[in-house]
């Protein structure tokens, strides 16, 4: 790969020769910043023809997520391929370039009283394309769903030069296969997302947040409370369990905490906060926030740790993992992950959605104890038929830890799908589950 080659496709100032390889991996010898669909398509087909290995990035927040290669030949950054293409406010849909940061979208939408039904991490830098490709979700998934629920159309480039549209621009559509699903969570192994059409929601008229602090080790009590709440007709948009060290930062007390959010008309928020508060036992303490204050709390929650663009402590890097379990196993998992961290003298923030099944672990420490810790958690999780995927880890550690874990989907189907989009393994090779 030479600058001259890239020059023909895009101006020299948008092709940068990279420095030393990033400790998180998933960068390229060259990083290019295309601004048009034609440039992206040309770069990709050129690479495919020449046998060059390509990786794709947005805000760089997922750089430590998966991948075995020391380096790719080319990193196609979509950081300059951004902006709203069409916001059909009356239809509650929007089409945007894949490189648009979540916060930029949110700001455009808020001006129209609308929102993207998603609360992924690091909204200031994470892009819509990256959130979809990595299937990143936040606590409010309970009410608003995941990318598989809000992505209604995609335009993508495949390495053989095809531009494929999947889905459409309407909120209900069963014409042909639901190919949109293939882009979600597939780590850019099938094509480069160019444009995404999403379903929107009206901004809630009001928000309420109730934080309940439980005595240490009261996982059983949290679960009982959650079950009672879930069996009532209240409609929480988040039911997130936080471990004591995360609570110390987010709630100001070092207890297990349940964060319960309600978003509705003001009278309905008030009513639900009161009912939820009335249900808690005397052993607990609580705090209530409303409106802007509640929203700001969730904004801080989306940035519990710095994203992958922050500088990395090579001895004690920040490691994160996403855990999927049955809802009723979440509180127990948060307890287990906390207890195991304490035993190993590791610093760990753990939280999990008791209504949607996704938990997250952020841990800092040396390689051996941390990897052992994750292995113990994975055993706990897989015994309950769930999964643990590490979505941030330095490349050198990934040689010793299979970030994706046990694969239940037959390899032939995974390979077959990859083959039908990217037969030459040009895109994000070895970055995905099963070494795809």
């Amino acid at each position: 790969m030479t600058a001259m080659v890239l020059d023909g496709i895009l101006p020299a100032e948008r092709a940068v020769r990279s420095g030393p390889p990033h400790p998180l991996g998933n960068d390229g010898s060259w990083r290019v910043y295309p601004r048009t669909e034609q440039e992206i398509r040309d770069l990709l087909t050129h690479a495919d023809r020449e046998g060059l290995q390509v990786t794709v990035s947005g805000g760089g927040t997922k750089r430590g997520f998966g991948g075995q290669r020391k380096r790719y030949d080319l990193e196609i950054s979509l950081a300059e391929y951004k902006g709203v293409i069409e916001h059909r406010a009356g239809d509650l849909t929007m089409t945007v370039h894949a490189g648009t940061p979540i916060r930029e979208l949110a700001e455009v939408l808020a001006a129209h009283g609308q929102m993207l039904p998603a609360d992924p991490r690091w909204p200031g830098s994470a892009t819509i394309g990256g959130v979809i490709a990595a299937n990143d979700t936040g606590p409010k998934r309970l009410a608003y769903g995941a990318p598989r629920d809000f992505v209604i159309g995609v335009r993508a480039a495949t390495p053989d030069g095809r531009i494929l549209r999947t889905g459409g621009k309407v909120v209900k559509n069963v014409a042909g296969y639901d190919m949109n699903k293939l882009w979600i969570g597939s780590m850019g192994t099938l094509g480069i997302l160019l444009e995404v059409t999403v379903k929107l929601r009206p901004l809630p008229p009001d928000r309420g947040l109730l934080l309940i602090g439980f005595p240490a080790g009261a996982q059983g009590e949290i679960q009982t409370y959650v079950n009672r709440l879930q069996a009532s007709s209240l409609e929480p948009v988040a039911l997130e369990v936080l471990n004591p060290s995360l609570s110390a930062r987010m709630a100001g007390w070092e207890r297990d905490t349940l964060a319960i959010a309600f978003e509705d008309r003001p009278e309905a928020v008030t009513y639900q906060l009161e009912r939820a508060e009335a249900e808690r036992s005397g052993m607990t303490e609580s705090v209530v926030m409303r409106g802007r204050e509640a929203e700001d709390w969730w904004m801080r929650f989306a940035e519990i740790t710095p994203d992958a663009t922050a500088s990395i402590d090579p001895e004690r890097p920040l490691i994160s993992a996403k855990v999927a379990l049955k809802n009723t196993d979440v509180a127990a998992f948060v307890g287990k992950a906390t207890e195991q961290a304490v035993q190993r003298k590791l610093e760990a923030f753990v939280h999990g959605g008791a209504g949607h099944g996704i938990s997250r672990v952020y841990v800092r420490g040396e390689q051996e104890p941390v990897l052992h810790y994750l292995q113990v958690l994975r055993t706990f999780v897989e015994k309950r038929r769930g999964s643990l995927v590490s979505d941030q880890m330095p490349l050198s550690w990934r040689k010793h830890f299979d970030v994706w874990g046990y694969q239940r989907i037959p390899r032939s189907l995974m390979e077959g799908i990859k083959q039908s989009f990217d037969p030459n393994r040009t895109l994000n090779h070895q970055r995905y589950a099963g070494g795809i």
């Binding site: 059909r88 069963v174 995974m414």
Partner: protein
């Protein structure tokens, strides 16, 4: 005493009988008639046999046999599909899943239920309503259609606007692949299984990627309350504008349905009349639900919006009985067309809801040009139109004219940036119309995926995708071969 064993002359039938029991195979011509089509009755074909497995192992064994012998096959539920997805084209073995109709497990704390594919949609809600839960996807045929069929079609319903369609409620499945291998996706309904989202891909694949033999679904807690509002408009455009304004007011109703004058004439002449005036141009049936304190004020806002758009009359259901009567009147709307027309064809286009007035005008023009009455019943909130084309199959040429009018309605939806089907599927009915919205390359990307699962195209062959080839003459010829003269 020896009784002469009845041996069927077709060795395949004998093998099938051996796998599932003689009494669970139909093969006599007279018995196969009922399986010549599904709810899309304009095209029929003959199956080779119908087999009724009782468990996954039997499904897998039957599929293995058919795969080995290179015999095409189709999975079928209740046969309520409206696009011919379960209709044999000739010589397929139909695997009917109606014997696999158990509700296997309910887990209220995790809000999941596990059902066999032949379990009827409405029965799930009936089974869990005593505990205050329900299953959200509610296609109009829910009293008969099976959840397995709902997965195949990614079925919708009146309440998708707020709660989503089938795919948003499917958490796991056991699937028999076209070679007989059994796989499980989304263990225990746990989300985000690492790997491509095969569950999402199979949902809505119209039975061409695998046979679903067990399904884990999400169940929801019934809302604290709901309110149903009925509004009569003298002008369709006023009704459409009211729809847009309700949405832009930040309200997400649980349902937002519209019927036009012809549709109202039908439902009032059928089994569940509720006394709608016959001289109005459009009615809206709106449901809001959730926390009482919230939806009460939403209902008030909706009434205000309707008044702003010159509503003739707007009323809130005074009790559950009244709301139920309005809904029964709406939900049986398709069948009600039988009261005012010998035959009807249901279409299923989707448009961005802001284009409603424009597309309705186009449909009106199609009606005038073809001389066929077209009733409109639709999920206005999500832009899913159901033009009902009224015709008389006894009159020479009318069926063809109806099909053509249907196709033109879909073209109008596609031209407005919409889709050719929102919930009924492509089946055999809309194969060619796929070209209204997808390029050859985009269709090929999908058939490549089909080949990954179903390389020999033995499972539900020749559905969903148009025949390859661009030129109009070829398409014309194909339609003629299918008996659908264009």
């Amino acid at each position: 005493m020896f009784r002469k064993k009845e041996r069927h002359s077709d060795p395949l039938i004998r093998k099938l009988m051996k796998l599932v029991g003689k009494e669970h195979v139909l093969h006599r011509q007279a018995d196969l008639v009922a399986y010549e089509c599904d709810g899309f009755t304009l095209q029929r074909g003959k199956a080779r046999a119908v087999v009724f497995p009782g468990e996954t192992k039997e499904v897998s064994a039957v599929v293995r046999l058919l795969h080995r012998e290179r015999v095409p096959f189709i999975a079928r539920g209740a046969g309520t599909g409206l696009s011919g997805g379960a209709t044999p084209l000739g010589g397929e073995v139909i695997i009917s899943l109606v014997r696999m109709k158990k509700l296997l497990r309910v887990d209220l704390d995790n809000r999941t239920a596990v059902v066999q594919p032949g379990f009827v949609n409405l029965k799930l809600t009936q089974a869990i309503s005593k505990d205050g839960y329900y299953y959200a996807p509610d296609p109009s045929s829910q009293y008969a259609c099976t959840i397995g069929g709902n997965v195949a079609e990614n079925a919708g319903g009146a309440h998708c606007l707020k709660y989503g369609v089938t795919t948003n409620h499917i958490l796991g499945a056991e699937v028999v692949l076209p070679d007989g291998e059994v796989i499980r996706l989304g263990e225990d309904g746990i989300p985000d299984q690492p790997g491509y989202d095969l569950l999402g891909l199979i949902t809505g694949s119209e039975g061409t990627l695998g046979v679903v033999t067990e399904i884990t679904v999400r169940i929801l807690k019934a809302p604290e309350g709901k309110q149903t509002i009925l509004a009569y408009f003298d002008d369709v455009e006023d009704g459409s504008r009211a729809v847009s304004d309700i949405i832009s007011a930040g309200i997400v109703p649980a349902a937002l349905e519209m019927m036009d004058r012809t549709a109202i004439e039908g439902v009032e002449a059928a089994n569940f009349p509720v006394g709608h005036p016959l001289d109005i141009e459009a009615l809206l049936l709106i449901e809001v639900d959730g926390i009482e304190a919230g939806f009460q004020s939403e209902a008030e806002d909706i009434v205000d919006v309707c008044r702003k758009w010159n509503v003739r009359e707007v009323k809130v259901a005074k009790d559950e009985q009244e709301a139920a009567a309005w809904w029964a009147n709406r939900k049986t709307g398709f069948g009600a067309m039988g009261a005012i027309s010998p035959d009807y064809l249901v279409q299923d286009g989707v448009i961005p809801r802001s284009r409603l007035p424009e597309v309705l005008n186009k449909i009106r023009a199609i009606s005038q040009e073809t001389g066929l009455r077209i009733a409109n019943i639709f999920h206005a909130g999500d832009g899913n139109l159901h033009p009902l084309i009224l015709f008389d199959a006894q009159k020479p040429g009318e069926k063809e004219k109806a099909l053509q009018a249907g196709s033109r309605c879909l073209k109008a939806c596609a031209d407005a940036g919409g889709s050719i089907t929102g919930e009924h599927g492509v089946g055999i009915e809309k194969k060619e119309e796929m070209r209204f919205i997808f390029t050859d390359e985009e269709i090929e990307a999908q058939t490549r995926i089909r080949s990954v699962f179903n390389p020999d195209n033995l499972l539900n062959p020749d559905k969903l995708f148009p025949q390859p080839g661009r030129c109009a003459e070829v398409k014309q010829e194909i339609k003629e071969q299918q008996g659908l003269k264009v």
